[in-house]
Amino acid sequence: MSTDDPHLQELDALPESLVDALRSADRPPALITSRVDREIADLAAGQFAGRGGGARRSRPARVGMVAMAASVLIAVAALLSVFRGPDPERGSIYADIDGSGRIDIADVRALARDVGSNGVSRAEIEAFAARVVELDRGGDAT
């Protein structure tokens, strides 16, 4: 028995025979069968089904994990767009953007002013610039 109060400790000394009688009178017959146990187990399985096998995290933690995963995806996408070469399907950017009659570094600058908002990546601008420099050195622009 717990003795969490010094004053009651002294008084707690009820006759053992009285405590025994109380405990005996409080003993129920054996009622719980394995069927009852199974019903409770089924209820529990139903309640927790759908949580998945792993540990379930609290809502704020899960939101944080999703946000972190999204950040990683965005960072990876940004890195890919920076480091990959120009898209071969996007040949149209090699054009006379400023209408000067020739494709030169001014077209690169015109395109670079709106980088990001015009659907052209920095890598494509850099590739365009490299192509223009190559043209100026006498390479084949086509």
Partner: protein, 189 residues
């Protein structure tokens, strides 16, 4: 109920945490471990108040269903601030009384469920009669303390009363018992 295994050694607090946050299998096993640990207590309380095996089994199911619903996704999770028995006790008690009232309404027998709970059939003996002569709320604290082995804090939590009230109620109950001549005789060396 097989396969709880290692969970049997976990504290109630750890099992409740698993039920709150674990995956489906761990949570179900943790709940089964809680059930295995406390089912006898719940059926005892249920039978204490109902004295009816069928009602006691219904109370057992009601009580553990109530506990189960505390956990996500149906509940927000359970925060244990006292022993689990102090949470289960009022649920089992109220469920038993509610079932008795239903039976009473159906049978129209006019039997007071409190009376049934206080004076179960069988031969309680003189010592039990002395306890049953106490006011009901004093009987209850005596049973919680000496039969259920609850601390004062858990008694307070189970009865939803302040700690001071639990302490004074138990103090008065014990003093009243010790004033009874039969008890006095048993206590004297």
């Amino acid at each position: 109920m097989a396969g709880r295994g290692i969970l049997d050694r976990h504290s109630d607090l750890e099992l409740v945490r698993l039920c709150n946050e674990g995956g489906s299998r761990d949570s179900a096993r943790a709940f089964e471990a809680l059930y295995a640990r406390h089912k006898d207590y719940v059926i005892r309380v249920a039978f204490r108040f109902s004295r009816d095996p069928d009602i006691a089994l219904d109370v057992l199911q009601d009580t553990f269903t109530y506990l189960l619903r505390k956990f996500p996704p149906t509940g927000d999770g359970l925060v244990l601030t006292a022993q689990l028995t102090s949470l289960l006790y009022p649920v089992a008690k109220n469920s038993a009384i509610s079932h008795l009232r239903k039976v009473d309404r159906l049978s129209s027998s006019g039997v007071d469920p409190d009376e049934l709970a206080a004076d179960p059939p069988g031969d309680p003996g003189d010592l039990l009669r002395i306890v049953r002569d106490l006011p009901e709320e004093r009987q209850e604290v005596i049973i919680l303390r000496f039969v259920d082995d609850m601390s004062l804090a858990d008694i307070a939590a189970a009865l939803d009363i302040p700690l001071g009230t639990a302490k004074s109620r138990l103090h008065l109950a014990i003093r009243q018992l010790r004033d009874v001549p039969e008890i006095k005789n048993l206590l004297s060396p």
